[in-house]
């Protein structure tokens, strides 16, 4: 008996094979939609993860008075610019406070071939943490010792082909092609940082004094003619910075975070802002959440479109398959068997589409990952689907099965109305 039971599903598969091209195109459409949906999800979680992984271990970020997202973006992600600077005196006042365990100044504004130049102290290499407390490590060389030493990130070294000891010239401003360069004061690469997957990879680090030194003969953002000071002379000058862009602050006790934050925000000599990186990220997610939702909705619509295409495909084949239905009915198949056959067909097509889509996505991830990382600094992990993603995939298969009920119901009605004959 069991031998015969297999005939009907086998015939269903053969029927599908008979329509292999349309079936394949349907599966492909579903696969692409699934790839898009899951891809958006991967990029979304990847982007969030890489943002969240960029900063850890810092309790407060201090900058000129601004919104917390703006401060977070320019100080940590090198996105956008500071509206104002923080005076050195304010910095020293904060550093002196008893709650502060450590403080690292950040000075931004110059660039090197499109990579940002960050003026900071050697503490930065110890204090900056990413991805749950990972510290920075040197792939070659070490921190800056001389005034004109520079430490470059992994991407800077890779894309510009720099080695330890190479000279570099810093340009004023942030464009990748700058017309004003600090040519009179070249730097030397003293160290190259290991890859982190954070904006650090795309940063040239120099000392705060070096930032001061290259601007010492400048005024109002322009070099002053006839007042050029040589690199040798500049070493003898007082290079204590007058202002910085922002500072990272670590506290002795996390309990003091709110107290210090309030104190800095209320600082009377200068309008300052102190933000908690985690809270600022939360606000950022709230902001980009709408765009993320829009993307997800669009890709969900694409999946719905693909399923609609499948329903259309099955519906158009129904007429030519009415005879198939009549034959099955004549040998004793129930209308519900026919309903089940068509719904199963839809479910199988969707399942095949989902499997192919997932395979295509992982294939694409494997191929595109290095490029996405290089071009966007986005580290897309190749992980198995998360519970959320499994739920989405399962939902698509169920939706496909349910969508298949539409042509199935029609076939059911047709097979009842046709009786023994097919009026074609």
């Amino acid at each position: 008996m069991s031998v015969h039971r297999h005939i009907v599903p086998r015939l269903a598969l053969q029927s599908l094979r008979n329509r292999a091209l349309t079936a394949f195109l349907t599966v492909l459409a579903i696969a692409f939609s699934v790839m898009l949906l899951l891809g958006v999800e991967k990029v979304r979680t990847g982007a969030r993860q890489s943002f969240a992984d960029t900063i850890s271990g810092t309790d407060l970020i201090v900058g000129a008075r601004s919104g917390q997202i703006q401060l977070l973006l320019y100080s940590i992600f090198r996105i956008g610019n500071a509206t104002n600077n923080v005076t050195w005196k304010s910095y020293e006042d904060i550093a002196k406070r008893p709650e502060v365990a450590w403080i690292v100044p950040l000075s931004l504004g110059d660039s090197h071939h499109g990579f940002r130049v960050l003026g900071t102290t050697a503490d930065y290499f110890d204090r900056y943490k990413y991805r749950h407390g990972h510290g920075l490590t040197f792939a070659a060389g070490g921190p800056f010792k001389d005034l004109f030493d520079a430490v470059i990130g992994a991407d800077v070294a890779k894309s510009l082909g720099y080695k330890v000891g190479d000279p570099i010239v810093v340009a004023h401003g942030l464009g990748s092609v700058s017309f004003i360069e600090h040519q009179d004061k070249p730097f030397r690469v003293s160290g190259i940082l290991a890859k982190t997957g954070t904006p650090v990879d795309r940063t040239v680090h120099v000392s705060l004094e070096a930032i001061e030194a290259i601007h010492v003969d400048w005024q109002n953002g322009m070099p002053q003619p006839g007042q050029s000071i040589s690199a040798a002379d500049v070493r003898k000058m007082d290079l204590r910075p007058q202002a910085i862009t922002a500072a990272l602050v670590g506290l002795k006790s996390k309990l003091a975070t709110f107290k210090l934050q309030r104190a800095i925000n209320d600082y009377s000599q200068e309008p300052l802002s102190a933000i908690m990186p985690g809270a600022a990220l939360q606000e950022l997610w709230g902001l980009v959440g709408t765009a993320e939702t829009a993307l997800s909705v669009v890709s969900a619509m694409v999946v719905a479109t693909a399923l609609l295409g499948m329903v259309t495909m099955i519906l158009t084949t129904l007429n030519e398959r009415r005879r198939e239905m009549a034959i099955l009915r004549s040998v004793g198949a129930r209308p519900t068997t026919i309903l089940g056959l068509l719904a199963t067909e839809a479910g199988l097509l969707t399942l095949a589409g989902v499997v192919l889509g997932v395979a295509m996505l992982y294939g694409a991830l494997l191929v595109l990952r290095p490029w996405v990382d290089a071009a966007y600094g986005l580290n897309l992990d190749i992980d198995p689907p998360t519970t959320r993603e499994w739920t989405m995939l399962g939902g698509i298969v169920v939706a496909g099965f349910i969508a298949g009920l539409l042509p199935a119901m029609r076939a059911y009605r047709l097979s009842l109305a046709d009786g023994m004959t097919v009026r074609t």
């Binding site: 008996m1 015969h4 039971r5 015939l11 029927s15 004793g332 198949a333 109305a417 023994m420």
Partner: protein, 244 residues
């Protein structure tokens, strides 16, 4: 011949009385059959021009549609009293059906097409397996109908000629020994010589299995091969009501 005992009085396989049926929908066509009986093992040809309700008669007889009134006994079971699923099972067990043409699932293998009813009919499957494997029974039937299954092993049903397809359909109707073979103009696509050859093969197998045959056609000339020739007009009244 191995036959299952039926409760119906020996003699009648089908008994219809007072049956009326109307297709649903606007272009409704109705058919009423006052009385019709088919004795066991009898071969009946039902003649009627197209449009007089032959297909409706067959749909009723096979239990694909249910009459609004009357009784329709097959082997002593009133099919009008059966639930839908039970009626489908009943049809699978006791009926072998051959259509006019396009009888086969075109993408299926020939053996699968022959064995198709066995998936839905337990008793027929057991009977077909009595001599060994049901596949062997399918091959035997095909061979006696003039088709060598092993020669056609690589072929799908769609690649057969019309005459070959009808013989495969006959084998499908006969497998597992159903009591009643119902044929809807199975020879209309064949030329005269092949028509008669096909009928002879079908009848000899039906006779060996002890099955009754009821066939509808508009070709009276085939009547010589049958025990009885009936006109549909004589047993049924059809009416086509024009939608208002």
């Amino acid at each position: 011949m191995q036959r299952s005992l039926s409760q119906s009085p020996p003699g009648d396989i089908v008994r219809m009385s007072g049956v009326t049926f109307r297709w649903p929908g606007a272009r409704s066509f109705s058919l009423s059959i006052d009385s019709f009986t088919l004795p066991a093992r009898e071969r009946v040809l039902l003649i009627g021009p197209s449009g007089t309700g032959k297909s409706t008669f067959l749909s009723l007889l096979c239990g694909i549609v249910v009459p609004q009134a009357g009784t329709l006994e097959v082997l002593g079971t009133d099919m009008t009293k059966l639930a839908n699923a039970a009626r489908d099972r009943f049809r699978a067990e006791h009926f072998g059906i051959i259509f006019q043409m396009f009888n086969l699932l075109p993408y299926g293998s020939i053996i699968d097409n022959v064995m198709l009813p066995l998936s839905f009919a337990k008793a027929r499957a057991e009977r077909a397996a009595r001599g060994g494997q049901p596949e062997d029974e399918a091959r035997r039937l095909l061979l006696s109908l003039g088709l060598d299954a092993s020669e056609l092993a690589g072929h799908t049903a769609a690649s057969l000629s019309v005459g070959q397809q009808q013989r495969v359909a006959a084998a499908r109707a006969l497998i597992g020994g159903p009591e009643l073979i119902v044929a809807d103009e199975p020879t209309s696509a064949l030329d005269r010589g092949r028509q008669l050859a096909f009928l002879d093969l079908l009848f000899s197998e039906a006779e060996a299995a002890g099955a009754a045959v009821i066939m509808v056609s508009h070709e009276e000339e085939l009547g010589t091969r049958f025990d009885r020739v009936l006109r549909l007009d004589d047993i049924a009244v059809s009416q086509r009501s024009v939608a208002a």
